[in-house]
């Protein structure tokens, strides 16, 4: 399915994401890495020091879509696969990989790269590469 090329709103949306990361660092000295914020709340080990701010940040994140609907009067455009097995597999891999690799698109891809972290640059290049290959296989080899 095709999606419209939206350079302007994508740039603007990206800038909001970046601004959010700057606010979090300026106020609480923390990196806006979603996988890190979430995984630190999960067993077996809890990071108590960052827990309250992490929860509040996630509440804000969860309020974004409802607020979007209230303000714009329309639900955000979204097409999610209905292949439940595929999404369970995807979720497991994303969760597992982001913890093992210490970050995701936000922690490595935005915050880490901006800090000039060599680890984050390597991680971002790696997950971009495997994601491109995965979609190629999914759409042109298997689904072809």
């Amino acid at each position: 399915m095709e999606t419209e090329f939206t350079p302007f709103v994508s740039l603007l949306g990206g800038a909001l994401i970046g601004l959010s990361a700057v606010v979090l660092l300026a106020t609480h000295g923390r990196i806006a890495g979603i996988s890190g914020i979430v995984s630190r709340m999960l067993p077996p080990t809890f990071d108590k020091t960052g827990l309250p701010q992490g929860i509040i940040f996630l509440v804000g994140l969860l309020l974004a879509a409802p607020l979007w609907i209230v303000v714009t009067g329309t639900a955000p455009v979204q097409v999610v696969s209905k292949n439940e097995l595929l999404l369970v597999a995807a979720g497991l891999l994303v969760g597992f990989g982001s913890v093992i690799g210490n970050g995701c698109t936000s922690g490595h891809g935005v915050c880490g790269i901006s800090r000039g972290s060599a680890r984050s640059i390597a991680a971002t290049m790696t997950f971009m590469a495997t994601a491109f290959v995965t979609v190629f296989v999914l759409r042109h080899v298997v689904g072809g």
Partner: protein, 143 residues
């Protein structure tokens, strides 16, 4: 005030994900589909974000400490290990398969698409599995 700033940051992050199209898995997968229905928008999302964070982080770190905390909690590791690369590689496969990464998946939860309701819990399970198999956790081994 410090609670409000974090809530605001979360809201801003989620709104940015929605506005940019990152919260739409079809758009993410189209970005990753160079040889099909390619949509380069996501490069602009990353560009827009880094345009803010690069100068923003630099400015913030000129201060000795954040507004509401005594220290900056920044990652300090600089070494490369297999876990980093293997983890990132696995993450990328999952991201490509579903078109979701953690931020957009959680932001999408209230929209309650059936796929999201399968993806998000699986993601949390994946995280817990990784934490159990991850580096030694002496505190728990003593139990």
């Amino acid at each position: 005030m410090h609670i409000f700033s974090t809530l605001f940051a979360g809201l801003l992050f989620g709104t940015g994900l929605i506005l940019s199209g990152m919260a739409n898995p079809a758009k993410v997968q189209n970005f990753l589909d160079l040889f099909g229905t390619w949509d380069p928008s996501l490069a602009f999302v990353m560009g827009g974000a880094i345009m803010m964070t690069m100068p923003g982080f630099w400015l913030v770190q000129k201060r000795t400490k954040p507004l509401f905390d005594d220290v900056f909690h920044l990652p300090t590791r600089t070494d490369f290990d297999a876990r980093l690369v293997v983890g990132a590689a696995i993450f990328g496969i999952g991201w490509g398969l579903g078109g979701f990464c953690p931020g957009p998946a959680l932001t999408s939860l209230p929209l309650a698409a059936s796929g999201t309701l399968f993806f998000a819990p699986a993601m949390l399970v994946g995280m817990v599995i990784a934490k159990y198999t991850a580096a030694p956790q002496p505190k728990n081994l003593e139990l």
